[in-house]
């Protein structure tokens, strides 16, 4: 759920790298088909969808990384893809952070264990576009222009809004960011990760900022809010996971609405709110690795994610699929699941790449003061 469980991931990665350097078999000699797949920018370029499926089946495997099963329904998505195409999906380091995906790709480059595809936070994605292979899925045209690179180097896959999840059996109802300062919440408010490290936590600070008179260009009020939260003794420095929530260790969690919503199925008293005066959205970035050991399977994965089926699967996990509007028009959207998404009115705040970089710089200077 949290994408920055680095303790184990880092150790595992170090082990992998040490082991990999010596004894990993090199990637299989690329056949003519695979070579074609590695540079194909669309299914058509390979001779159509059937040819892509055949090439992917021939590869038989797909390496994905940093996809937690309870994050945006990735558990189901991986299973559905594997069953549909008979491809074995090798999901490495489900709890890794975006930067670790890139590190793994660099360190495992040339082996058959390197990640084939990436699912990244904004900053990491935009800083590493040189590692992506441009690819346009069949449904490329129905993805809003703002959410894709024109050549398909990266495409937003799903997004959501910053939300506050809370256990209504343990704490009083929460409707706004300001409510988090209530004395009843002493030692109870957790943020999903360290905002200088994890994208979700970072957006949590942006949310607090917007709620306190800040904006996408000015996140200082957000940092100040967390200082106040910390001074009040309400800020709990624990990384929330499904386990900490269920065991009652983290009764209030600031996180994406889809990860918070995923808890509801396990804990019926769990409520999720997107604060009305602080709607901060964010989309993840999907890309194919330029050095994918299974280039056809990687491209087929993209096709699957952006198909109606794949997009509805994201929706099933409470995430907002990027093609939602087009699918709603075409009547292919899972209306029931869509109706469950939190209502969002007005203009939600979405950070541009520049605002993101500027905010990150402020945060790296200021956040240490919050945690003391």
């Amino acid at each position: 759920m949290n994408r920055i469980r680095t303790t184990i991931a880092a150790a595992a990665l170090a082990g992998l790298v040490l082991a990999g350097a010596g004894c990993a078999p090199p990637a299989a000699e690329p056949s003519a088909d695979a070579a074609a797949a590695a540079t194909a920018t669309s299914a058509e370029a390979l001779g159509g969808m059937d040819a892509l499926v055949a090439a992917a089946k021939a590869e038989g495997r797909l390496n994905v990384i940093a996809l937690p099963p309870d994050w945006a329904n990735y558990g189901e998505i991986i299973k559905a893809f594997g069953t549909k195409y008979g491809i074995e999906v090798n999901s490495a380091q489900p709890d890794a952070a975006s930067q670790e995906e890139i590190n793994a790709a660099t360190q495992l480059k040339g082996t058959d264990r390197a990640p084939d595809v990436f699912d990244l936070g904004q900053s990491v994605a935009l800083a590493n576009t040189a590692m992506f292979a441009p690819y346009q899925v069949a449904t490329f045209d129905s993805i809003p222009t703002a959410f894709k690179d024109p050549s398909g180097t990266w495409v937003n896959d799903y997004g959501g809004f910053m939300s506050i999840g809370y256990d209504s059996a343990k704490v009083p109802a929460i409707t706004s960011v300001e409510d988090l300062l209530k004395p009843e919440l002493k030692g109870k408010v957790a943020l999903n990760g360290d905002p200088t490290q994890a994208g979700a936590a970072f957006s949590g600070v942006v949310m607090a900022s917007v709620a306190n008179g800040g904006s996408a260009d000015d996140i200082k009020p957000g940092v100040e809010f967390f200082s106040r939260l910390s001074d009040a003794g309400n800020f709990l420095p624990v990384d929330p996971t499904a386990a900490t929530i269920e065991s009652g260790q983290t009764p209030v969690v600031i996180d994406w609405d889809y990860t918070n919503a995923a808890v509801t199925s396990k804990l019926s008293s769990w409520k999720v709110v997107v604060p009305e005066n602080a709607q901060v959205g964010g989309y993840y970035y999907q890309a194919v690795s330029k050095d994918a050991p299974h280039p056809a399977a990687a491209r087929l994965w993209q096709e699957f994610l952006y198909s109606d089926e794949g997009q509805n699967l994201y929706l099933g996990g409470g995430a907002r699929p990027v093609r939602a509007d087009a699918m709603q028009e075409a009547g292919t959207l899972d209306a029931d699941a869509y109706a469950k998404l939190p209502e969002v009115s007005g203009d939600p705040v979405l950070l541009t790449a520049e605002q993101n970089t500027a905010a990150a710089a402020v945060l790296s200077e200021e956040w240490a003061k919050v945690t003391g």
Binding site: A10, A11, L191, T196, Q197, G248
Partner: protein, 294 residues
């Protein structure tokens, strides 16, 4: 120049001299792969930015937040070394005064052997389950004495780290300090008593001066042990970087503040320097004790 008859024994002796050297080769290779190469990587990496030699990364170490973490790291290591050292030494002394193959000694040494290695994520989770926000003991203390532990975040701060680190520091002290205590001969005490020394005089003039270098050496070892511990802290503290190893984590994995990988090298170099200083002190002290407690 030499006759054939003398050549054979000489070459045999050369081979005999070479053999032990060959035996060391695996060890040297091990050192090279696991010590020399990583250290060189760290040193080189700390002085590179964007592929060019630069001092900028090392200069970032002067950031107040980083300096604060270094101070915390030093305080945490020193404090837990002293706590572990004093408590561990007393425990070791209690063991030594008993019979050499007694049940107490066997029990304490084997328990310490296990606990000294019981660090990392397992230990952190054990503490969270016991003294954390919904920990068994916290809930009980709250219900019985109203301590407010269940809404307190102390375990995830520096204070919590001190407690958790002490948990593996004390048994480690027992293990490293026992041999020194064993080296103290009963005869020395008898000699002192024969000369009319009181217990206090024996300890002040003979026992403590003899054990002091070994004690300080053990303290330094504990210090280095705590200074380099990572997994325990990483599992406990997920907000902020109160100690240097956690800064390294965030420099390597941050998905918000990018391009900090070289800063991790600089931080590692800083740690290497501190530990090198500590270990130099350690080896100097050990050399002094070895003269007495052979």
């Amino acid at each position: 120049m030499a006759a054939p008859a003398t050549r054979t024994p000489r070459s045999r002796s050369r081979a005999a001299r070479l053999l032990p050297v060959l035996g060391v080769v695996p060890f040297l290779a091990y050192l090279a792969v696991f010590l020399v190469v990583p250290t060189l990587t760290v040193v080189v990496g700390a002085f590179v930015e964007d592929g060019r030699p630069s001092l900028a990364v090392v200069r970032d170490l002067a950031d107040p937040a980083v300096l604060g973490s270094l101070a915390n790291s030093l305080v945490l290591s020193a404090l837990t070394a002293v706590i572990g050292g004093v408590v561990g030494a007393l425990l070791a002394y209690a063991v030594v005064t008993g019979p050499a193959d007694g049940a107490l000694r066997r029990l304490v040494t084997s328990v310490c052997g296990v606990l000294a290695q019981f660090g990392g994520v397992t230990l952190a989770f054990a503490f969270i389950a016991t003294l954390g926000i919904s920990g068994v003991v916290s809930v009980w203390l709250d219900a019985t004495f109203g301590t407010g532990l269940t809404s307190s975040t102390w375990l995830f701060s520096l204070r919590g780290l001190v407690l958790v680190y002490a948990y593996f520091q004390i048994p480690l002290m027992v293990i490293v300090f026992l041999p020194a205590l064993d080296g103290v001969r009963v005869q020395w005490r008898e000699a002192a008593e024969n000369l009319g020394a009181s217990t206090w005089q024996y300890w002040r003039l003979v026992g403590l001066p003899l054990l002091a270098p070994a004690f300080l050496g053990s303290l330094l070892l504990l210090f280095a042990n705590a200074f380099a511990a990572y997994a325990t802290a990483a599992a406990l503290v997920s907000q902020g970087n109160p100690i240097i190893p956690l800064w390294i984590r965030s420099a390597l994995t941050s998905e918000v503040v990018l391009g900090h990988a070289n800063f991790a090298y600089a931080l590692a170099l800083e740690m290497v320097l501190v530990v090198a200083l500590v270990m130099t002190g350690y080896s100097l002290l050990v050399r002094r004790t070895a003269r007495w407690l052979g």
